[in-house]
Every structure is written in C-alpha cells, then in structure tokens.
C-alpha cells in the first residue's frame, strides 16, 4: 500500500507549487509512470481520491501516461523492448539485458486555476 505515500508526495508537490506558482485549484494532474515503478495504478487512483480530499486538488482528474520498458541487449548491442525485468532479449534470447527505462514515477504537468 505505498500508493498512499506516493499520493501524499504528489499532494506535497502540488502544495509547494501552489505557493510558488500562485494557484488555488488543481483541475488535472498528469503523471508519467513506467511498468517497473512498482505502482499499482488502480490502488494509486483510489488513494489519490482519498488523499486529495479537503485540499486544493480535491476532485481533480488524475491522468496516467504509461511509459514503455526500454532495454539494451548486450550481445545484440542494440536497444530492445521487453515487458519485465526478467525477460530475455526478444531477438537472441539472452538474459544479458540491461533495463534502461520504465521505472519512471514523475509528475509531468498539471492544469490549474
């Protein structure tokens, strides 16, 4: 259940930004999340509604942009696409695959009033 703490962090960033950029209402928040970030999206959405209640982001829409998992196959010496950390290279079958992206956990932007 660390989705709850992730939502707390999101709210904390929003509150800081509210002061820095002078807004009082958040309408939409867009996140970038990779499949390897260890976040369950359903739990995140549920937590977001709970955590934003009573604050400036209450009722705001949460949009998630799902990022791809990218990797580098060492034997093939080129980028490949995999689904999980333990997947072999789709071309040569080797497990010498270095994950290069897919663990993103970022707030990209938000729409505010």
């Amino acid at each position: 259940m660390h989705e709850m703490s992730i939502c707390e962090s999101i709210v904390s960033v929003i509150e800081q930004q509210a002061v820095a950029q002078s807004f009082s209402r958040v309408k939409r928040v867009r996140l970038e999340i990779g499949p390897l970030a260890g976040v369950e999206l359903e739990a995140l959405r549920f937590s977001y509604d709970v955590v934003t209640k009573g604050g400036i982001a209450e009722g705001s829409a949460l949009e998630v942009i799902e990022m791809p998992v990218t990797a580098w196959c060492m034997p093939c010496a080129r980028p490949v696409t995999v689904r999980e950390r333990y997947d072999p290279c789709p071309d040569c079958g080797s497990y010498q695959v270095q994950i290069t992206g897919g663990d993103e956990l970022r707030i990209r932007d938000m729409e505010v009033d």
Partner: protein, 285 residues
Amino acid sequence: MCTVCGCGAGEVKIEGGRAHRHDHAHDHEHDHDHHHHDHSHGPARDHHHYGKGPAHAHAPGLSQARMIEIETDILAKNNEYAAANRAELARRGVLALNLVSSPGSGKTTLLVRTIEMMREEVPVAVIEGDQQTANDAERIRATGAPAIQVNTGKGCHLDGHMVGHALEGLEIRDGVLFIENVGNLVCPAGFDLGEAHKVVILSVTEGEDKPLKYPDMFHASDLMLLTKTDLLPHLDFDVERCMENARRINPKIRILRVSARTGEGMEDWLAWIRISREMNRIGRK
C-alpha cells in the same frame, strides 16, 4: 503528516534513542490545510513528530485555467532526505546496510548473530522498523548494541525522513549501521534511505521463485542472503534454481548461503561487510 510517508500518518513512533526506553502517546489530526497536534511531550531527542508540512497551501490564484509543467520525480522529497542521510553517514564514517525481506525470513535472528560476531571488532548500531511493538529492538539491545525502534503504524516501509531522525538518536561513528526494514518485499524497494547497499534476505522455507514474484526488490539489492540453510535437508527447496532466478532479475547480485544457527556462511557475510566498509571508506578522506 510526514510529507514523504503518508501511510499511517500520525502513527509513526520512534523509540529508544541511546537505549533509553520511552513510551508516549502520539496523536495527529490532519487535513490538507491545517495540522493539529496533540502530544504528551517527552525529551525532544526521543520523540519525533511527523507532521510539519506547509500549514496553508492556499495562495491567491489566477482565475483562468493554465497548464504548468513540473517534471518532478514523485519521490524527490524522499531522495532529498536519503541524500542528507548519506552525507551524514559519510561524515561519521558509518556503513549503512538496508536489510529487506518478507516477514519471518529470520532477519532479526541473523542480525543478533552477526552483532555477536562483530561487536569486538567494530561499533554496531541498529534501526529496527516494524509496524508495531519494540520487540525486535529489545532483542538487539540484549546483545549490548544500541537500537532504535521505528514503528511505522500502518506504514509498509521505512523512509528517508524516519531514518534521518532515528540517526539523530544514535551516536555511532566509524562503524556499521544495520537498518532492518519493515518485513515486506514490495514497498521498501522504492524508498532510498541513504544506505550503501540493500541486502535482501530470503529464507529456504519460502519459495525459490520469490525473486521472480517480487523482482523489484531483488533488482534493487546488491547482496542476497539465503537464510536458514540448516533446514534444507527437510525441504524440497531447489537452491540452484533460486539462485538462477535471482540472477535473472539482477545479473550482478551476489548470493551467500547462511545459517545463523549452524554458523554456515557467516564468515563470508562478515567478510562482505568488512570489504563493503573499506570500499565505503576509500576515497572519502
């Protein structure tokens, strides 16, 4: 409420600075505009409050909707706390190891045995993370090593903020700090505490496919300790397959088979700690 660790807000307790036992009531009420605290106050050192966020987030706003780009790492705040812990640990010459596992893997037993073997050669301290009770810290203190218990309340992991405050209550220098995380193979993988290494502990009474089931943790760890190996004759556990699974997730992971009961592998584990300490120290001065 702690701005990093939202889970179990107001239920986080840190107990036992310098082996001093201290019970206190600790209630927080919270909403996003105001923070109200109700505490019975004890000595500041032993009593840490989670809940000093910005009190009023409202600012005079523009009426028109606009987009603002943030591009902020959601865990940036935790990472800041972790970086501060790392700097403090470096300043004190302390090697910090973050021990992670499922509940019941034998972390505390292994730790007690490790401390007994190491205490003569190097100062050792422990930060114990559990949802409730100070039982584990008491087990550690029975060895003579200082231990601080952090109760995360409903929380599923330790975070950089909690560890930073626990660190304030420990006087360790030029030694080894073990951080025994909350028993959970999922969430602690995502939270840097400022440690030099994560060490994942897997007991042979669990399945050999655990690395595949919980890949994030095995990917985040530098060392895997396969514990309770004295039980292997009674089990169908396939050690080779377990190690292969761990290396599929993390080709760089080192694996040691240990038994706190028979002492198997304990010398290797201690050697790994010594070498890590050296590596951590080289180039710092």
